[in-house]
Structure formats: C-alpha cells, structure tokens
C-alpha cells in the first residue's frame, strides 16, 4: 500500500465522518417553541415538549456528555450507579472468564475430535444442533438451573464462544497436510509429540481464526445478557439509561461497545498474524 493511498483513504474517512456529523446535527436541530403554553405548565414539561427539541440528541449533546463521562470514568455512587470505566471492566471481566473457559474446553476437545475420525463423525450431529442456538435462548435455562445471575451470564458467554473455536480447531487439525504427518510417522515421532510439534503449528492459524470469531460473538452477547440480568456491566448501563430515556448515554455506550469490540478483535488479529506461516 502506498502512502498516498493511505493518505487519501484517511481523508475520505474524515470527510465521511464530517458529513455524517453534519447531517446528524441538522436533523436533530430543535424547531423552536411549537405551541404556546402557560409558563406554569411549561415548567412542568420537558424540553422536547416546550422547545420542540428533537427526542434524538445531536452530536454536540453526545460530545458534551461523553466528555463528562471521560472526565470521571471510575466513580462509584452505590450499587446501581457506577462510572463507565467500572461498567466496561465488569463486562470485559465477564467476557474474559467465559471466553477463557471456552478456550480451555474447545481447543483440547477440538484436537481430540480432529485427530479421531470416529469421534468427529459421532459428535457431529450434536455440535450441528447446538451450534445455531442463540446464546440468549440459554439464559432462562441457565438462570433456572444455576440460580445465580452473574454465573448465568458467564455461562452464556461460554456457550456462545465455544462453537466457532471448536469447529475451527476440528477443521484445522483434520486438514493438516497428510505429507507432514506421514513424514512425522516415518521419523517415528510419538503421538503427543506429533500433536504439539506438527499439528499444532500447522493448525494454529485456523484455531486463532476461530478464537477471533468467538471473541466477537462473546462481546456481542454480553451486552444483551447484561441487559437481562442487570446489576453491572455496559449492558446494564444501556438498560439503565434507556430506563431514563436518555438516548445520549445510550449512544455513548454504543460507541464504547464498538471501540472495545474493535480492540478485542485487533488483539486476536495480531496473534493470528504471529502464527501464520507462508506455505
């Protein structure tokens, strides 16, 4: 990629953003007082009703509010009102726990299934049925059996992030080139050593791709799960602000969810690049 192309792409990005913000600003301008009201009545009403202010906040409102949040991200006003930094930390911790558990289960299991054609065939119907289930469909069942909402949320993350990893590991392990395995066999390498020195490096890029897909899904699901169980986390923050019909805060949360999701994805993308090899 030439530097001039990169520059031009950057310029187009900025122009698009500016155009988007401009349209947003114009679309949400207040229309001015629409109807005449007695001052006594107007005092009891919101700005939407009195000033004809759009129910949708403009970019300036969102910017100001965002600045307010960024100034004090870690405040704690009791169990139902914590700073955005704390909420994000809760969500990331939940995703991290559920995801790591899924990694611990999916990769060894995937290896096993991938190396054994019998298991692969036998387990295939189960995996195919379980894979397409929406993770939130597990929620009532989890709440009912686990009887603890925060563990239920972690379970939901676990169950949703396990399938892409499992399937990719199976696929990666099963499709290691036969020549390499045969070479290892001729050299009389033991099964365990073969798994670690030949199959793992060969399958690593596919496995990491699976992990990358999984983290994306896990982050998508945590917001919905936290909206359901409440208490803490960025999903709860969205719900709490929605309760107050504060669209401004909801937009800020959406922005932050996007940024954190992108960061998580980029981290795994970097890992993937590290293990990729040219053939």
């Amino acid at each position: 990629m030439t530097s001039s192309l990169r520059l031009r792409a950057g310029l187009v990005s900025i122009a698009l953003l500016a155009a988007f913000l401009g349209v947003w600003h114009l679309a949400t301008r207040s229309t001015g007082a629409t109807t005449t009201m007695s001052p006594e009545y107007a005092k009891l009403m919101g700005l939407t009703a009195t000033q004809g202010k759009s129910a949708m906040p403009g970019p300036l409102d969102v910017g100001a509010k965002l600045w307010e949040h960024l100034k004090r991200p870690f405040y704690d006003n009791g169990p139902n009102d914590k700073g955005l930094g704390i909420q994000l930390a809760y969500s990331i911790a939940r995703v991290g726990t559920g995801y790591l558990l899924a990694v611990l289960v999916a990769i060894p299991l995937g290896f096993l299934i991938g190396m054994s054609p019998l298991l692969s065939k036998a387990l295939d119907p189960f995996i195919q049925v379980l894979k397409p289930i929406s993770p939130l469909a597990w929620m009532p069942l989890a709440l009912y059996t686990i009887k603890d909402s925060s563990i239920s949320a972690i379970f939901v993350i676990f169950i949703c992030s396990i399938w892409p990893m499992l399937l990719n590991t199976v696929f990666g392990v099963a499709s290691v080139r036969k020549e390499w395995i045969n070479v290892a066999r001729t050299l009389e390498v033991s099964t365990v050593r073969r798994a670690f020195t030949v199959i793992l490096p060969a399958a690593a890029p596919t496995i990491l791709t699976g992990m990358r897909i999984s983290i994306g899904i896990a982050w998508l699901v945590i917001v919905a799960a936290e909206m359901l169980v409440g208490g803490t986390g960025i999903g709860y923050f969205v719900w709490n602000e929605w309760n107050n019909l504060s669209i401004t805060n909801v937009i800020i949360a959406i922005l932050l969810i996007g940024i954190v999701g992108m960061l998580l994805d980029q981290i795994l993308a970097r890992f993937t690049r590290m293990v990729t090899f040219p053939e």
Partner: protein, 460 residues
C-alpha cells in the same frame, strides 16, 4: 414512635403515638434519660427496655387514667423500682432484645425503578434500614420476571413486587409454586391511563375498539384495573382491544413510535410520557378505585422462617418509610432523594409532579390531586381477595379458589398489625374492608358472587 417513649411519664398516653425526644422541658428530658428513655437512643438494649417496661405498665394498668394517677403519686423512679421488684424487667428485656437482633444484617432488596418503590428505595438514602439495624443494598432490576426469579433464587432477600405477584407465585401461576408473603403494601393509587397525543378527542372508552394498550405484567393491578375499566365500558379486553405486557421504560418509546395507543402504567412512566410530549393523562387510576394497592414488599416464606428478626426489622423499616412518605410535606425531599441514577434515574421534575400531585396533564392544563399517589403499608386481606376474584374472572386461575385461605397466607395482616402496634402506629382492627371499584361495592365475604356478577369475563 410511642414504642420508644418513657412509659413512666404520667403525662404520656401509652396508646397513642409520640415522637421520641419531644420533651416539653429540659428537666423532663434529663429525668427521662435517667430512667428509661431512649432518645437519644443509647443502645438497642435501652430501647427494648423501654418497650418491655411499657408493655408491663400497660398490662398492669389497662386504664391510662389509673396509670397516670399511680405515676403522679409515686413518681417514675419509684414506680420503676417497685415494678422491677416483682417483675424481672432486666431478664424480660434481655429476652426481648435477643428476639429483636436480626440474624442477617447485610440484605439485598430488589426494586424496579418506578415511584411505586418509593418506600423501598428511599429507606436506603434516608437511613430507615440503618435505623432498624440493617445494612441493606437496594438493587435495581430489569423487569418483573427477573425480580421474581432473583428473589426465588435467593439473590435477593426480599423484593419490590406487584401486589398480585406474590399471590401468583404462591399459587404457582407462571412460575413454580413457592410460598411468598407480603408484610406491607408499598403504595396506593399512583397509576394512570395515558393515551397517545393523537387520541385527544377519543376520551370515551367506547371508541377504543381495536386499540393497543400496554400493561407492565400479566399479574399486575394494572392489568386488572385496565380490564375492569374497559369491561365497565362494554369492551371485552380479550377480544375488543389488544393488551401487551411491555416493560415500563419501553412504554414511552412505544407510544412515541406509535406501536401502542396507550397504557395503564406505573408512575413516573405516565408523567414521563407527558413530560416528553408524547401522551396525555386520560385518567388517574385513583378514579377507577380510590385507594387501590399497586406494589408490595414481598419475601419468601423460607426467608421469613430462617431469619424472622431480619424480616421483622425490614418490615419495620418499610412501615417507617411508608409512614414518612405518606406525609405531603416530605414528598419534595423524597423526590430529590430517589431521582439520581443510583435509584430511579429520572428527572426530578417528573418525580416531583408524581409525588406532590401537582402535574401537567399533557393537554395544556395543570392539575392538582394530593392523593395522586399515597403510601399505606397495611396489607388488607380483602385486597388479596379482590385480586383473586380478578384472576378468576380473566381465567388466570381455573377451578375453585379458596379466597380466604390464600389471602391470609400471603398477606400477613396479623403480623404487620402486631409490628405496627409495637411501633406505636394504629393499624386497623380488621384485615378485611369493603371498597368500591368504579362505584360497584366489593364484599370480601362473597367473592364468588362478585365474580359471577360481571357480564364480561372469560368463560371458564
């Protein structure tokens, strides 16, 4: 509270309520502090000593006049000495004090962010839980089904529930049957029917055929009141209109998006719709049934059995908070205390309009109704019987219903009455009262006849 006053004060009426520390002179205060007074409360023990002594005095002198005469003639300290001679006041106090210490101090109480939960919420920032020796964390919860599940799963020790919910849970409607109990009602009145602004001219319910209405939950007073109201105006709520269960915050958004035509919802949601200019107040729920219950404070039987003193202390805190909230002069302060994001998370203006009863009606007028919402903790068993009749009427319960037994098991009128008496409040003598809903009198003794008297109901 009279529970805490000096039973050896000849001028004090033991039966009526009185606030602690309101002495008429400094000398009297000193004297009180010397003997058995508890204000300022020195210790739990002292307070219980007062309660026990007052109970003993009451037993010895059933007539106030006789007690006063006795105390006047011998003096309080002599009386106390004489009393302790033949009554083991110290031991009795110890026993009472032990019975009073909560088994579990750190409690979690769930709530839904609406003004119905006012006593539960405000008891935290205004210190009512702390006053009764509890450390309570009030936790905001996403919806009625979630609050039900979390309370059943024991994540919450007690919770804010819609008044019919504990009955439904105890009967196993929409959940596994788990015995629940209601020691206190939260609020009476305080709901409303809000219609979308475009229906300004459709004030007659007869024109509402085909409209879509939102209610917060199937087992809610909102559902029963709206159905009742529609049926009284000749509409069958099951066939002529659509009723949808919608979480309260989404009601305003749905009304704005034109997905629903109106709702019967808890306040601050009604006022919020007006505040945002999307709807107007058609009718306060008080105009359907003045003094109807809405939300309740509920706990499982298991919690009550395992931690009876914690439960009693919680109930006392709620009753105390409810009494405080029922006073009009406190309402502004309460609105400010519960508005922040940690609690209800709503504009103070909206909460003030709900709690003070001076509100914009959404049609350009300002209305005043001091009883728009009120707070009265007493769990009338006749309320429970009425809810059961409506559950039966709309097919939520099939077959025969033992109205009285269920009502008495779930609504703990007797226990609450005892607590209220101990606290020096004056609870009603009976747990049943008759009331009128839209002019039609309800007799709690004849629930079957009441159900049969409605023309519009689900055939069962």
């Amino acid at each position: 509270m009279s529970t805490f006053d000096n039973p050896f004060d000849p001028d004090r009426n033991l039966r009526a309520g009185c606030a602690c520390g309101q002495h008429r002179s400094a000398a009297e205060h000193d004297q009180a502090a010397l003997s058995l007074h508890c204000e300022p409360v020195e210790s739990e023990e002292k307070r219980y000593e007062g309660v026990v002594a007052s109970a003993v005095m009451r037993a010895m002198f059933p007539q106030d006049a006789a007690r006063r005469a006795f105390l006047k003639s011998v003096g309080a300290s002599t009386a106390l000495a004489a009393l302790s001679q033949f009554f083991p006041l110290k031991t009795a106090t110890e026993v009472f004090g032990q019975a009073g210490a909560p088994e579990k101090k750190d409690l979690k109480v769930g709530f839904i962010p609406i003004t119905c939960a006012t006593p539960i919420i405000m008891a935290a920032p205004l210190g009512f839980y702390a006053k009764h020796g509890l450390n309570v964390e009030v936790v905001k919860t996403a919806g009625w089904a979630v609050i039900r599940d979390k309370t059943i799963n024991k994540e919450y020790d007690a919770a804010h529930m819609l008044a019919p919910m504990p009955i439904a849970i105890s009967l196993g409607l929409g959940a596994n049957a788990i015995p629940f109990a209601v020691p206190a009602i939260e609020n009476i009145n305080g709901q409303g029917i809000v219609l979308a602004a475009k229906h300004k001219d459709k004030r007659d319910p007869k024109d509402w055929k085909g409209m879509k209405f939102a209610i917060p939950f199937d087992y809610s007073m909102h559902n029963y009141l709206l159905r009742y109201y529609l049926a009284e105006h000749g509409l069958d709520p099951d066939t002529d209109v659509q009723l949808r269960s919608v979480p309260p915050p989404e009601m305003v958004a749905n009304l704005r998006a034109d997905n629903i035509d109106g709702f019967l919802a808890p306040d601050n949601i009604c006022q919020r719709a007006i505040y945002d200019g999307v709807g107007f107040m058609h009718l306060l729920s008080k105009e359907i049934w003045d003094g109807h219950p809405c939300c309740s404070f509920a706990a499982s039987r298991e919690f009550i059995t395992n931690a009876p003193n914690s439960f009693a202390a919680l109930t006392r805190a709620i009753v105390d908070a409810t009494a405080y909230a029922s006073k009009a002069e406190n309402r502004k302060q309460i609105a400010e205390a519960i508005a922040p994001a940690n609690y209800i998370n709503a504009p103070v203006t909206v909460l003030e309009q709900v709690l003070t009863g001076t509100y914009a009606d959404g049609l350009g007028g300002v209305k005043t109704d001091a009883k728009r919402v009120d707070f009265d903790p007493f769990p009338w068993q006749s309320f429970a019987v009425w809810m059961l009749t409506q559950m039966k009427r709309w097919g939520q319960i099939k077959g025969d219903v033992d109205y009285k037994t269920v009502a008495e098991q779930v609504y703990l009128a007797t226990d609450t009455k005892k607590l209220m008496t101990e606290m020096g409040l004056s609870p009603p003598a009976s747990a049943y009262k008759s009331f009128a809903v839209m002019g039609k009198t309800f007799d709690p003794a004849k629930p079957e006849d009441y159900v049969a008297s409605f023309k519009i109901r689900k055939a069962s």
